[in-house]
Subunit: 374 residues, 2 copies
């Protein structure tokens, strides 16, 4: 169980969620304005050069502030600003990071700071994993999705034309710093996509948290800092606990993929970028919950309440109406598939998940019934 | 201490050197004809798909044989043949491996087999480190240099236009299989370059082995299998012991870089490819031994005997006559340099090494006296 510590820094509430991974342990620090306050990040970062990796959109909002903060910890602070968007999560863009590191003569004592959403975090983290066979990095997620999911756990990757996240590494950050204030500039659609990943944690790990979300959905949509703090904290606690027990996705960690087997197929089926990841996961969770129900693992009320909550958050609850066989084909290509066998994360009661294969006929039935959206 | 086990497989002598790295432990299997005999490789390789990575030169010699051997262990065996040469150790060539893996729908149960020299091993190993965030791989080194050095220890990398081996990973193989018979087709110059890395182990770790090499240099140059077996085995034992104590090059492992700080500068200074790595290391060891002597760490006889042995092996003992300041500039760019401080592996008596900074004036003196070759 991950026990969070509460505290105050400069009069503001700061939550600290430990990620317990032996010598690779670190903290997720959650608070308002923590981007400006390096004293809130108690972590073992060397005094070598800092290299900030961000994108054009985030740079305009937060880069100067972060550089000011980092100059209180590092003698030299450089930055590299990447183009914004999942379509740039490839080798060409990654090599911009390596070029910058080498042009500035960075060495093994360099710390990379990933300032941005999941794409920036994935690329900066993978660059840190590979540069001189591994340097330290810090995650500073500025989207809700990155704060509650991608920035915690050390998964890094780039895409390959033949598959998403196919080339990557497990490389844990030294610390994750979630500044809740950065969410105030997030477009509504991205905020909702982040809520999908938050909602995910309820059915798979903590039904009481799901019920809290049912009571506080409107507060979250209105971006109330207290509600966001709690949602981010509880999500990170659950993720930290799962990752601590299965760092390299040998088994348990796959429960975090609830909605993702269907979701990845949706993203690929409509063409990457058309649906946000969180949107695809939302519709994917509806399919996975229905499959769980048809396999006798979860009761019907779980599906009903999940659909209701997702709809209140204006998330898609109907997967697109692609041919059923196309879904199956895409799911067999997923990197969690083994020997062509599709693996689903299914709900096993309330607040519990299992990873299973499913009967193809049942999967076809679920898709035929529910993948009817636009 | 790494204790090797001797045994026989199909009537032939097989040596097994353990590399003790906890859950990442593996064996180096050394013998004649072991490429054809999977029973000699007792290792936990999954029964998923096999992907052989090799180059055009090695494919012509050994690929068919290896594929036959692997079909006794794997249901599906694919291969990807890369262009030959260090100049291809880059992202473009690496992506050929990823393309092949994805085109053949390889998954996390795939095992990659690196058949070739150090370049193939580095690229196949790095591809294994990154593909789906890490799959298993097996090293099948076919050059003397790869058998005694690069295939053991899990260092993998590709080059960047601004530096060698700048992008890579620590990723241990499941087993290393050294078939001494493959050395019979090796060009003389490459055999000698491999001898340089073998000779390196004596002064830094085992003076008795150095004296054995003094007695058996001609047998090695004549490619006597018994002599080669012993030289490969003892080299792998020493490397295994160092790697077991310092897997990620935190300290001790740097003693393996004896001759390499100067050597890398030689390779870069003359333009990569003009000197073989082992040749540059040979001349680099002469410089490093002289520096050790001038710093009062080693006696003059060590230098004299080292130069004599290298010369008998027809290895260069004079570094090229580049400007002294050019050497210093290149060495400051080395990825072992920290904050501009050049680190040297120096001899500390006989069979012992230390890693130290050195006075720039002394380094200049050594270069001015000894870097006078063509």
């Amino acid at each position: 169980m991950s026990i969070s510590a509460s505290g105050e820094v400069a009069g503001r509430a700061v939550q600290r969620v430990p990620v317990d991974l032996g010598e690779r342990s670190y903290e997720v620090v959650i608070g308002q304005g923590v981007l400006d306050d390096p004293s809130a990040w108690r972590s073992a970062v060397t005094d070598g050069t800092a290299m900030v990796v961000t994108n054009t959109t985030v740079a305009a909002l937060f880069l100067k502030r972060l550089e000011q903060t980092l100059l209180r910890r590092h003698r030299l602070v450089h930055s590299v600003v990447l183009p914004d968007g999942e379509q740039h999560k490839d080798w060409t863009t990654l090599s911009q990071i390596f070029d910058a590191l080498l042009q500035w003569q960075c060495d093994r004592d360099t710390t990379i700071y990933a300032l941005g959403g999941g794409v920036v975090g994935d690329m900066a983290g993978f660059a840190a994993a590979c540069f001189m066979r591994g340097v330290s990095y810090v995650q500073l997620p500025t989207t809700l999705l990155a704060q509650v999911d991608s920035s915690v756990g050390g998964k890094t990757a780039i895409n390959h034309p033949l598959g998403k996240n196919m080339i990557g590494a497990f490389h844990q950050p030294r610390i994750v710093v979630c500044d809740i204030d950065t969410l105030s500039t997030l477009p509504d659609r991205e905020l909702r996509a982040g809520l999908a990943e938050i909602i995910k944690y309820g059915p798979i790990a903590d039904w009481a948290f799901f019920e809290w979300l049912e009571r506080h959905a409107e507060n979250l949509l209105a971006r109330q800092p207290r509600a966001l703090m709690h949602a981010v904290q509880r999500s990170c606690e659950i993720k930290a606990e799962v990752v601590a027990r299965d760092e390299r996705e040998g088994g348990l960690r796959a429960i975090l993929n609830f909605g993702h087997t269907f979701g990845h197929a949706i993203e690929a089926g409509v063409g990457f970028g058309a649906w946000l990841h969180g949107e695809a996961v939302a519709a994917g969770m509806v399919l996975a919950a229905s499959l769980s129900e048809r396999m006798g693992l979860a009761d019907g009320e779980v599906s009903v309440r999940l659909v209701k909550l997702l709809a209140r958050c204006e998330l898609p609850i109907r997967a697109p109406a692609l041919p059923v066989e196309r879904y199956l084909q895409l799911m067999r290509l997923d990197k969690k598939a083994r020997g062509g066998d599709i693996r689903f994360t299914l709900l096993d009661g309330r607040g519990r998940a299992v990873v299973r294969s499913a009967n193809d006929a049942l999967v076809r039935e679920v898709l035929a019934d529910l993948a009817t959206g636009s």
